[in-house]
């Protein structure tokens, strides 16, 4: 019998970093799985892991560390419920249960050689962050790259330090907040309003998106407006997650599974699916 891919392993929280009033970054080590080949990345950008604790449960979280980091994996936890409430009590040196990685991640072969625009809001940044790190590690394989990132308030923009670092690697980073705020000098408005400023050639560019359905709809029309068609828009989706191995039926979208075939689907496919 093979190893049970739905069983977690105990790992240590090696670092905790508060990112916003409701979000913390947890760095977890050692990683309880090996890369597919020696020296290969630990996960594929856009894949997710299950993090939890016995007695509380588990939650699916997009891995946001550089996929090439060999000795840890990092996740962002927004405090919304039972499990995430527990994860917020943890300090460096405590332990959690971890399993993964799951899902397909972004189809990098469709990104290579293209301009890339990444769009997300609030705590949708993790899978996008891993994609940015992959692009930076292989910068010459991609054309012009933009990250458009919005949040309700300046406080809720995550990974601010890393975004500064990304800009030094020829990534255009544009941020916006929903409402004017005293401390904010940047653009104000929902994230689709940034799209016309994306420095990309829409005729060939690909888009990577992570966000709730209403946001994705608004993004789609703005992305279509600069020439990016739905077959070139890759959306990281969310569903209830239990087993992670394509059995339990909680995460289905139409005839596919978010845990196995997703979480990334083309917007074209999602629009045609009754369940998308």
């Amino acid at each position: 019998m093979s190893k049970d891919r739905s069983l977690p392993q105990r790992v240590t929280v090696v670092n905790v970093e508060r990112q916003s009033p409701t979000v913390k970054l947890l760095r977890l080590a050692p990683v309880p799985w090996r890369p597919k080949q020696r020296g290969a990345p630990l996960f594929h950008p856009g894949q997710f892991v299950m993090v939890g604790e016995l007695g509380y449960g588990e939650v699916p979280l997009g891995a946001l560390s550089p996929p090439t980091a060999t000795d840890y994996v990092e996740v962002a936890v927004r405090k919304v419920g039972n499990v995430t409430g527990h994860l917020h009590t943890l300090a460096s040196g405590d332990s959690v249960m971890l399993r993964g990685p799951y899902g397909n991640g972004f189809p990098l072969d469709r990104f290579t050689g293209k301009d890339v625009v990444m769009v997300t809001g609030g705590c949708g940044i993790p899978p996008i962050a891993a994609l940015v790190e992959h692009i930076i590690a292989n910068r010459e394989q991609f054309g012009r790259v933009s990250l458009l990132y919005g949040a309700k308030t300046p406080d809720e923009l995550l990974l601010k330090k890393r975004m500064k670092e990304w800009q030094r690697h020829d990534i255009t980073v544009l941020t916006t907040i929903d409402q004017p705020a005293p401390s904010w000098r940047g653009p104000v408005g929902f994230v689709p309003t940034l799209i016309p400023n994306a420095r990309v050639n829409g005729a060939q560019a690909v888009a990577a998106v992570c966000g709730p359905t209403p946001m994705v709809r608004a993004l789609a029309s703005a992305l279509n407006g600069i020439g990016i068609t739905n077959e070139r828009i890759f959306v990281s989706t969310e569903r209830a997650m239990h087993c992670g191995i394509g059995k339990c039926q909680h995460c289905t979208i139409g005839d596919r599974y978010v845990c196995m075939d997703g979480p990334v689907f083309t917007l074209d496919w999602l629009e045609k699916c009754w369940d998308g």
């Binding site: 049970d4 499990v83 059995k247 039926q249």
Partner: protein, 315 residues
């Protein structure tokens, strides 16, 4: 192995003797199908003490599943494939590998889809015994005092199994539908906007009974249980895609908030997603969902309506 038979009046004796060595589950005519022994309503998959020491669940005792009929054997064959591909479901196989399956089917010359040992209803006094694996042969040898080598028998041959006429018609109707899986997949997929789902959503109580009694429904939730014994158990327990919380995520958002969507999804899984994933509809026409539905919903009526309207649709 030579032609073996077992006298019908010694079957109970065999089961009693088997109980010395096995957990024996008699599945004949059971409302909750055999799946409950391979994929229990609640199964511990991991446990930990307060000190944080975790351990995987213990393997179960060897078991005998007795008396699966042809439709159950078909469901078992499918469940074995589902739990093996594309990723092996380890908790299922921990139990499955410990189970000897004995089917009882008519002697109609057809092969059976699964089962280690098969009792064929040849005469009114005895079953003809077939073994379908090395393990089954060892099993029959170990219990040989209950089996006889067949001699030319003068026993009366059994005719077709006695079945109430209406049940027989219903089963034949299901078989006819299930013989066209591509049509069912296309029709159910097409039916998403059909008013039948609005009507069914009004009738359906959202109780989940149809999924619990279905030999091919296998969705589950993973839950942690903390007891007074200071042990935390991670369990998987039967879930049902018709229940409200099935698609709920943290924060309270429901991806399928209406019963209409959830009930459609139940059919969609069985006849569309499953067909595309494994090449067969996940229904064997056993009729348990119909017999046990408190709202008297008949899966065959639903499928016939959809197929009729699909075939008559304006092209």
């Amino acid at each position: 192995m030579a032609n073996l038979t077992i006298r019908r009046d010694t079957v109970e004796g065999l089961l009693t003797a088997l109980r010395e060595e096995y957990d024996v589950f008699d599945c004949r005519g059971a409302t909750l199908p055999f799946k409950q022994y391979l994929f229990p309503p609640e199964q511990e998959i991991l446990k930990a003490t307060r000190m944080g020491k975790t351990q995987a669940a213990k393997p179960p005792r060897a078991m005998v599943l007795f008396g699966l009929d042809r439709r159950d054997l078909e469901a078992l064959a499918q469940l074995d494939v589902i739990m093996a591909k594309p990723i092996e479901d380890v908790p299922y196989w921990k139990r499955r590998k410990r189970a000897i399956v004995i089917g009882i089917v008519e002697d109609d010359g057809t092969t059976v889809p699964s089962g280690d040992v098969v009792f064929r209803e040849t005469t009114n006094r005895a079953y003809r015994v077939e073994t379908n694996s090395e393990r089954a042969q060892r099993f029959v040898r170990a219990w040989k005092k209950f089996f006889q080598t067949a001699k030319g028998s003068t026993d009366e041959k059994t005719g077709p199994r006695a079945q109430a006429a209406n049940t027989a018609d219903w089963s034949a109707g299901m078989d006819e539908l299930l013989a066209q899986p591509e049509l069912l997949a296309n029709a159910v997929e097409w039916s998403h906007d059909h008013r039948i789902w609005d009507e069914l959503a009004k009738r359906c109580l959202g109780c989940g009974i149809c999924t619990y009694v279905c030999p091919l429904c296998y969705c589950f939730a993973t839950e942690d249980r903390v007891g007074l014994d200071d042990i935390c158990r991670r369990c998987r327990r039967w879930d049902a895609c018709t229940l409200l919380n099935f698609s709920r995520v943290a924060g309270g958002f429901h991806f399928k908030p209406t019963l209409r969507e959830r009930y459609y999804n139940w059919f969609y899984h069985k006849f569309v997603r499953a067909y595309r994933e494994y090449g067969k509809p996940q229904c064997v026409g056993c009729g348990r969902c119909k017999q046990n539905c408190p709202a008297s919903i008949d899966i065959q009526d639903v499928l016939r309506t959809i197929v009729r309207d699909y075939e008559a649709r304006a092209v």
